[in-house]
Amino acid sequence: MFLKEALPELFKCYQCLSCTLGCPLAEEMDFKPHQLVNLLILGKDKEVLNSLTPWICASCESCEVRCPNGVPLSELMDRIRQRALKEKIYKGKGFSLPLIFLKEIKKRGRIHEISLILGLKRLVGFRVSMEELRMGLKMFLKGKLRIRPPKRVSSESFKRIFEEVSF
């Protein structure tokens, strides 16, 4: 199934570029938001799924709010990401955050920042720059990093939610 079939609103796009002009990270993207919409309309899902754009997008939703035609751009970005993850197309580093984040939630119900960072490092590599090291140390000394993980949250309802999904 083409991605455009799940999002018929895409066809309302008349390429006014409001999305791209308001996007704070457009210049970092290989395809700008309006180009991504165009590619989807043309059925070029493969190009879209291999694009870095969905992993550069910070989900700030400026594009969607400013779109004059109500094209759901943030849902579109999410659908591209979800499909890419399902097909194991891993681009850049961005893909690893949602995967590890969800794993952490499933494990203890809440996010423990240090465990999250360690989980990410395990996936993308442990190389740390001097700057990161300095920042981490300063955060630690300022008491910003909680060492002890929070108490595990678990209830029947919480477990049941995760039985509904395949992650």
Binding site: C60, E61, E64, M135, S155, S157, E164
Partner: protein
Amino acid sequence: MKFAYYPGCSLEGSSREYDESLRAVCEALGIQLVEIPQWNCCGASSVHQVDFFLRIALPALNLLKAEEMGLPILAPCAACFLNVRRAKKALLENEKLRTKFFSLFSKNFQAKTQVFHPLWVFSKPEFIERSQELIKVKLSDLKLVCYYGCYLVRPPEITEIDDPENPQLMERIMEALGIQVIDWAWKVDCCGGSHSLLNPHLVKKLSKRLVQKAKESGAQGIVVACPLCQANLDLYQENQNMPIYYFTELMGFSFGIKEAKNWFKRHMVKPSLG
């Protein structure tokens, strides 16, 4: 006034000063907070990238708990605030979804609990008036800009912000404290959000520029209401020496609450107050 308090993960981790200052300010204003027992993560800015069901289900659990407490929710974290409101709206508008949750939780789930961010509460006339009565330390020399970022504002059909391009809630509270609030054009631009974990260069680019723009406007500090905004602007501004305050810290400091000094100690750029 009494709330089901949903602090969220950041407030028990890297932004404890937001939690502590909020609790202190609520006490001063006569607002009672009862923490939601066993609350769970809302999914923040990540879960929607993986699955749309979980995006609704995780915050819905907290909504259900607050409903059982019979209290409206107070969520100081912008992501928690947005995600719980999004879940509530989806459940109210979609009967099939509601029925699914009803059977999943085996409970009669109305999803009618109100969800507030403290900005919406403290900017109400009664609390503006109460705040003015509580002022012990004058902050009239302080020139600041208010910064909202994304999740308190967009999408406006969910946040119900007063104006998605030029909100005024934080301004109203700061002005009540006598602070000189400067108008600027960058209050709803993105700080880079959770990119700080994997692509810090993107956050540096956005946050550094925001701080530069604040400086150009003549501000001596930036006021925020989101833990991620505070962390990014504070950590990634690159030697601009611009303090980033939580609005609750300034309220607490102005009310003469002594612990304010300890809140400020945790900032990367140490505020000149106190």
